[in-house]
Assembly symmetry: C2
């Protein structure tokens, strides 16, 4: 299946200076893939392992084959297309995912996969061969919008998630991953966890407002924040809002709100990129003139520094316990999710920044606020990510948008990084 013509290796400096991706070809593929599962407002609904996902997969595989890639599919439906290298070495991989959330955009995930194909096309056109093979992959069910957890395919690839456990996962519509993989014909024969890879690099839209806000063109992603999700449940006593003096109240709702506002004050003091979000709250009985006897709310805290994250958690917990004690209510907490910060390979991060500067693109080293396949793959090989700006930081939204110039910049840096990694430089 591999039809690439072997050529002599070109010197790296030549590549860096002159080679460019074809942005209109890349954009055409983005728009064509976005037609599969297109929804009103310019968005895409291509939930994992649905008929739309199958159509998207088929289309991308058709493109892979047309570019001469040797395509394999593993048992969880991860798809890898490999362009041979000059030597029998592990490939350098790029890629992302093509599944979307229910009201997703055109770029999230898709950009990383299609920019990988565009790099292949560019190298093909220039008849450039690399020392290491180059692989373009898309991983199954990165979004987790239909089946938990997110990054399912990369977790199975990396070895953290057992294949059978993934197969048995029941989705929001009551059917399993296995049934749906079988229905769409994507239980492949490639062994899970193969190929072993030399390095991984993912291009992605930022999904946040930082680059746009700071007027920057690129992000050299340093890693992914650690995440701690905590659910607080506060049990107090319901009483009449008109007949219960303030000092005799056991107001569950008030304690919830005191903890939430304290968390905001604290992260403002702490700084250091610390985030805290109270996204979900529920009062019982939730009536105008009844003191809530129960309040449940969630806290989402994130930081790239585990020590800061732990400190913030402990400070909030200490405050929460005291606030509960003062009000005479019962406090209980449980973790909904907890993941340690991931740090990408310094050499790759630095190389991305250097390449951007050489190309006169404004760039900053920054963490990723969202989770990505690269975060999972970083457990098995040196990994990096490139961010391009998201207009207004919109993500998981039909209005998600990234300017063509920014996509072109990101694609060209991806080309250079992949070439340098595949040349055995950097790592």
């Amino acid at each position: 299946m591999n039809t690439v013509i072997r050529l002599d290796r070109q010197p790296a400096e030549h590549i860096s200076a002159s080679l460019k991706i074809n942005i209109s070809r890349l954009n055409q593929r983005i728009l064509e893939l976005a037609q599969v599962g297109a929804i009103d407002g310019g968005g895409v609904c291509r939930l994992a392992l649905t008929e739309e996902d199958k159509q998207g997969r088929d289309l991308v595989i058709e493109w892979m084959k047309a570019l001469g890639l040797s395509v394999s599919i593993d048992a969880i439906g991860n798809v890898v297309g490999i362009r041979e290298g000059l030597e029998d070495l592990p490939p350098v991989m790029t890629g992302s995912h093509i599944d979307t959330v229910r009201t997703g955009g055109k770029y999230d995930g898709n950009l990383g996969v299609l920019a990988g194909l565009e790099v292949i096309a560019t190298l093909n056109d220039a008849q450039i061969q690399t020392k290491h093979p180059i692989a373009v992959a898309f991983f199954t069910n990165e979004e987790g919008a239909r089946f938990p957890p997110d990054t399912m395919g990369s977790l199975v690839f990396q070895g953290e998630l057992d294949l059978q456990a993934a197969y048995d996962t029941v989705g929001i519509d009551g059917t399993t991953v296995y049934e749906n993989l079988k229905t769409i014909g994507y239980i492949g024969e490639a062994p899970v966890g193969h190929p072993k890879i030399h390095a991984f690099i993912e291009l992605h839209v930022e999904q946040g407002p930082v680059l746009e806000h700071e007027g920057l063109q690129l992000g050299a992603v340093t890693g992914v924040q650690g995440i701690h999700w905590v659910e607080f449940t506060i049990d107090g006593i319901s009483n009449h809002a008109g007949t219960t003096p303030m000092q005799l109240r056991h107001d569950a709702g008030m304690v919830a709100m005191q903890i939430a506002t304290m968390a905001r004050r604290l992260v403002k003091q702490v700084g250091q990129g610390q985030l805290a979000t109270i996204g979900q709250i529920k009062f019982t009985p939730n009536l105008v003139n009844v003191i809530p006897n129960k309040a449940v709310f969630t806290l989402d805290i994130r930081n790239t520094d585990q020590a800061v994250l732990d400190h913030v958690y402990q400070e909030i917990m200490q405050f929460a316990k005291q606030a509960a004690l003062d009000e005479g209510v019962h406090l209980s907490v449980r973790d909904l999710a907890k993941s340690a910060p991931v740090h990408f390979d310094n050499r790759i991060v630095q190389h991305i920044e250097n390449l951007a500067k050489q190309s006169h693109l404004s760039v900053k080293k920054m963490p990723s606020g969202a989770g990505h396949d690269a975060q999972v793959i970083s457990e098995v090989c040196p990994t990096g990510m490139i961010f391009v700006p998201s207009v207004a930081g919109l993500s998981h939204n039909v209005k998600e948008f990234t300017h063509l110039q920014d996509i072109e910049n990101g694609g060209n840096i991806l080309l250079k990084v992949l070439y340098d990694l595949a040349s055995g430089e950097v790592i």
Copy 2:
């Protein structure tokens, strides 16, 4: 229909010293009425104008007639039983309501009506006649649990609510007040707003924890707090909890919680019986990892002093506007309810306190936190209320409870106040 035997008037000092209600007879009536619409846990469900309400009404009217009262029913179904006086004067009225909330207790409302009947029975037994007639009333739909507004019957009686508007009110089950009044046969022929009354006195359970907490036996109610209900709607911008730096957020939920916690701090500083309750809150989209773009919450503030209430409202609004500005979110507010404080007749309040002290009962002057028929009737004649303790302050709850001794104390004070008012003393 009036079968009361006329006797010479007894001197007041005689009454005050020796006459007592029969607590076991009163309690028997309380328990018997509580069988109508009885629900699990010892509570009562007798929503206004239901079949259960009709059965309760029929039973109380049967008791009224057996006590020799002349019963009339007006066009909104208010029922008044009159015991003739020695002179052709407006009656002194006592009473309350017999409708309940869906999960109500035995005492709320019922106690005031049945204690009124017990006073009549006691006067009958002692063959004591009074200068003014004495009326015992129960007003339609005090709770407002099936049809808004609450205190509907007394509002029509008093003249604030138009009869036709009350008739046309659609309840939670889609039927009108008129249809249901007709079905249960309680559209009476007595003219609305009659009889004109000399004074009104209502015995009621406190529905709050103050008397129990302070170890007191009786409350001489000074009036009803002013109430201001405000709904705050905050519109911000939804964004990803992981990718949006704190300083770029427009978090509607956070502003809601900041306003709520500020209100709590403020009322603690203000003191003076000021209350503030945030009973209801809703975030949109209400997801763990999404910054809320919308938050709606309610504020219930109450005080007996309109100036303090207004001051607190203004302080909260000033803070709210600044908090919204700081976060870059849009704030809008609307009043859900607003009523001015009601002040009962000082002579009656003082007389209740004096009588309690003479009977060696511990008593305090206190406002009512909840609304009552007496608050409405106070617009048309000198009015007072007597509170007896509610165990744990529980109200609108099947576990609502008041000790028999407290009911007896309250009943005896009601007897004395009614006698004194009907003797033309006090007022």
